[in-house]
């Protein structure tokens, strides 16, 4: 019962904080994004199905008295597609079975942001990020499994807006395009992420 009371108190304080209005400087955003992601380019050739198994966290700091900011993002996306009755030929080998294809990506991106407004409830922005994407591709066919991993340089433009619900809480909507450079063992990765974020404003 005591735990329940504490939880309710915690929720009440959070709600109170969320809807209260003090004069704190708004210098940073901490964001957790749910990020349904659509594979594009080479990635779509391998797995053509949009994934909802995608999340990322961001921290954005806005420079004082400026429309510019910088941030860091870390995320995870898991793509999956089942391809039934796939025939593989390699030399004299022919194999047939249902393929289960997986791609896991973990981008770590640093970014620069430009906000189109200096203040207000709605703060549209554009950002450009650079970083790395750790990519793992796996294909399972029955007992056979092939796994390839790689780390690729990535560029990530983003266009979106933060809707400020209260002084300390907001919602973020954005579109991010991840494009990596192909390596020797893995082709380039491309994906369009639609981000719906919960924003803590500091």
């Amino acid at each position: 019962m005591n735990i329940m009371k504490n939880v309710l108190f915690f929720i009440a304080v959070v709600v109170a904080l969320g809807f209260s209005n003090s004069g704190w400087a708004q210098s940073s955003y901490s964001i957790v994004n749910f990020a349904p992601t659509l594979p594009m380019g080479n990635t779509a050739d391998y797995i053509g199905v949009m994934t909802g198994r995608s999340v990322n966290v961001e921290f954005i700091r806005i420079l004082e008295e400026s429309r510019f900011g910088y941030g860091i993002e870390a995320g995870r996306s898991s793509f999956f597609e089942k391809i039934p009755n796939r025939i593989l030929e390699s030399g004299t080998v022919v194999a047939s079975g249902t393929q289960f294809r997986y791609i896991n990506t973990t981008p770590i991106i640093v970014s620069g942001h430009y906000f189109f407004t200096e203040s207000g409830k709605l703060r549209p922005f554009a950002s450009l990020g650079f970083g790395v994407v750790f990519q793992t591709r796996r294909v399972d066919m029955g007992i056979f499994s092939e796994r390839t991993t790689g780390t690729q340089l990535a560029i990530r433009p983003e266009l979106g807006t933060i809707f400020q619900i209260s002084d300390y809480v907001g919602i973020k909507l954005s579109g991010k395009y991840y494009q990596t450079m192909g390596g020797s063992n893995l082709p380039s990765h491309a994906a369009l992420g639609f981000n719906l974020g919960f924003v803590i404003i500091n």
């Binding site: 003090s22 995608s54 999340v55 079975g97 249902t98 289960f100 007992i143």
Partner: protein, 223 residues
Amino acid sequence: MNPFVEAKSTLKRIFSPILFLVGGSLFFCCVPDGPDAIEQIDVVYTNHNPSFNFSSRLTYSLPESVILIEQEVLQNPDTPPAFADFLISQGILSSIRTNMNARGYSLVDVSANPDLILLPSITITENLRFSYSWWYWGWFYPNFQPDWGWVYPGYTPIATRTMETGTLLIQLSDPKGITSDNRVPIHWIVALNGRISQSTGNNLNRIQSNIDLAFNLSPYLSR
């Protein structure tokens, strides 16, 4: 400081780490899908000797039963292999016969000096084994000699990890092509791999349809 403002300040300090902790934990919640039916795990694998002229052969022979190679047999080479379940065994042999006959080959008794001998075996082991001990077939193969072995001319059969799976191996041997060092050439191999279900009927249906598929994937095996 106003106690309410102080509470907000404290909460803000702890809330951001919680936010990232929740986000971080979500990273590991993204469990992808996998097979949702036993048939989806089945794999048909074929490999062959590209320089062997399959169409020049006329007759073939089959054993009366399919042998069952279990882990104990592999660990204890003196243990003779058992035979597979009668229904499964006859179903496998029937499918092989149907496909071989449809491709123009004639079934003859093993004593009639066949051009080809097909050797089906089921393994329930941790590894796919093509080069299993030769003497498993000593009870059937004509002119058997204890020092014989297999050879796979022009290609390499696979060996890979399995997990509680059953594999039907079919080896197409050439009894007339025994090498000077007593190796029997295997010119075509099939591995049908899948998880064994509790239903004999389900297992047999899957095996038979996969045998048909293996022959369809091997158009060179025809007269």
